[in-house]
Amino acid sequence: MYDAMAYLWMIPAFPIVAGFITFIIGPKVLRSQAHLPCIIAGFISFILSLMVLNDVVKAIQTSDIANPSSVAVSYFEWFRTGDPNLVGENFKKAGALKAEFSLRLDPLSSAMIVMVTFLGTLIAVFSTGYMRDHHGHIDPGYPRFFASVSLFLGSMLILVLADNVLLLYAGWEGVGLCSYLLIGFWFEKPSACKAARKAFLVTRLGDVALFLGFASLWVSSGYRLDFDGLLKLDNYDSGVGLACFLMFLGACGKSAQFPLHVWLPDAMEGPSPVSALIHAATMVTAGVYLLARFMPLFASVPEVQMVVIAVGTFTSLLAALIALTQTDLKRILAYSTMSQLGYMFMALGAGIDPKSALPMLAVSAAIFHLLTHAFFKALLFLSAGSVMHSMHDVIDLRRIGGLRKVLPLTHIGFLCGALALAGLPPFAGFWSKDEILSVIHETSKASNYPWFYILMWAIGIFVAFLTAFYTFRAYFLTFWGVLKLPEECHGEVHESPKSMTLPLMLLSLFALGIGFGLSNFTPFSIETFLGKIPGYVIQDHHSHDWLTVGFATFAGLAGLILAFVFYGSGNVTISEQAIGKSNFAIELSKNKFFFDEIYNKLLIAPLNLGFYCARIFDQYILDGIVDLIAHIPKIFAQLFRPIQNGLVQFYALAMILAVTVFLIALARSM
């Protein structure tokens, strides 16, 4: 048991309480101070998370983590169903479904909560500047924004801290709901509403699969809900493969992987801090976290792992190709997020053979990239938000340019983020990306299909090249060249307020340093740290895959130089050619490989036809029958309605007639 268990529950509780407080008293009482509960609760949670992390680190150093069952703590019984008196062994177990509010504290969850609370607090601070206009007037939905962000933080913390799948699912749905609320934050914009609905529905598909996956886990593990029971391979006889595949589908929905990736670019309709927090740093990584959490199971089914790595690779390649030609800054970042998430899935897919150290390496690589990516992508999004704020919501790369001079702090922040994303040494992305590629390389040696993993590895390096290229394309187009301002600015530009630039600077430091700080060359190695997750085989010695490092660095540099040649050198003709040229490949990329159109034609059109038929059936057949039935009393009523003529005397006359009839009956009976 950790000491931290006593106050672990407060970490999600503070933001949730703050969220409800803001919802209730925000619009009337707090008004322009509505950010206070959110920031204070986030900060308290961050401090608590640091204490928890400290506790975990201490426990690792004293090797107190040996007993796996000590990492979970149950606070109260959540609910209980069924009749324990049912006959039959399986019915008894299945009937007595018992879910507890139990949290799990291990290196994985502690790393996640520190990252989530830190970024959440920082982005909330950024939002206090972002959600005001240039005169300092707050957005009409200011309290709603911070209430939703608070709730999101609470749900995300529950998601990563949960010790049973039901609680995890609750957090999963909570973040989905908050994401929906925040994408549709400016609900008066039809596009925002549409995007919110699209995000909610597409992730819903994944959520259904996830729930089915959890259900099959529950059944095949002998009706267990807690992770201790679920992660023991001895508990299973069969059905792990199916459950893992379904869970992977769920993760695809949340993390915007290939079949279900279409919602993420549209989700940029939300405010930029939301894009940074939810759609880059935290919520979309929930899928990665899920797979990392269940890695022992996934590692035991290499077929599923091959699907995972294939999907991850494909998504990262696809998203990188699309990002090449986009002209919307935030959209480029969104596709880059998809691409990097694909990278994480590649890492996770490399974890095969539970008896070797590969699963541990895969998890640590994925989580390493998750953390670094969270920092530099949040930084990039916030910088983009800052640009957007200064440019009066214009981030079309064709209409802006040369902002290096007018937005110096934003420029530095974006540059740091871009360097980290491009994976250039010694910035953050370099370390984690190399880790991932090394793991894949490692796996190709251990697998039965080495050529497959080698192919994935090669594509990964190609994607690294593409990443560097499109990142710096966006960078050069935005900040270099001749100063170009959209007409909305009326010629005036000023740097964003301090509440926005300070988080940018802080994040820049992290984006630069966190990669090296968590690498194997320092005592804070993430690999050592995550290796202490109970149930993993630990690798004793570190071997550095210099081949991979070399290739990746070369790819990154090549991308950077190419982008400079095309867009940064001031050579207008090349840029013009590059932008204006139109051939099939570029059209394909510009139109996002027509995925939306394909989905529309293949899935939505037949469904619409079905809806149309159902509507016809409902309107003309069902309603017709109901109306027909309703008409029968109406016809009867038509006979008697004239009685109701509004004349008092007529009513009195009718009354007297009735009395007379009764009296006649009485007289006859006497």
Binding site: P642, Q644, N645, G646, L647, V648, Q649, A652, I656
Partner: protein, 141 residues
């Protein structure tokens, strides 16, 4: 010796006459008087029973009827005043707003049975030397 029956019949006659008045007359004041007449019939009923039961319960009941009738008169007259102010008429037929929506207002069709005793009013000559009043249509021609 008169018996109970004849008093009850007298009460019934008054009651029914009041009833006819209430149902057929359109002036709200006359309708109200008719209602009071019905109360008189009831009062006679009560007093007759009281007399022929040899106790005073019926008489006290009539006193309560009196007080209720007084209240009724106060309220009803007040209502008649404001109804009159609203439509500038005492005609109860002007108040049929609570009828079914699509019904035409009742135009009071009369069953003209037994109206064979109608006599056309005699033509009257104008006073000599005065120009007879013009017909209204003539001015438009």
């Amino acid at each position: 010796m008169l018996d109970l029956k004849i008093y009850l019949i007298l009460g019934a006659i008054l009651f029914c006459i009041g009833l006819i008045g209430f149902v057929s007359r359109r002036n709200m004041i006359t309708m109200f008087l008719s209602a009071e007449l019905m109360l008189q019939g009831v009062a006679i009923n009560f007093l007759a029973f009281s007399r022929f039961r040899g106790n005073l319960q019926g008489q006290s009941f009539v006193l309560f009827i009196l007080s209720v009738a007084a209240c009724e008169a106060a309220i009803a007259l007040a209502l008649i005043v404001i109804l009159y102010r609203a439509k500038n008429s005492l005609d109860v037929s002007k108040w049929q707003d609570l009828r079914e929506e699509d019904l035409e207002p009742n135009e009071d069709p009369e069953i003209l049975l037994l109206d064979t005793f109608q006599i056309e009013p005699m033509p009257t000559l104008p006073v000599a030397g005065h120009r007879p009043a013009k017909e209204e249509d003539a001015s438009h021609v």
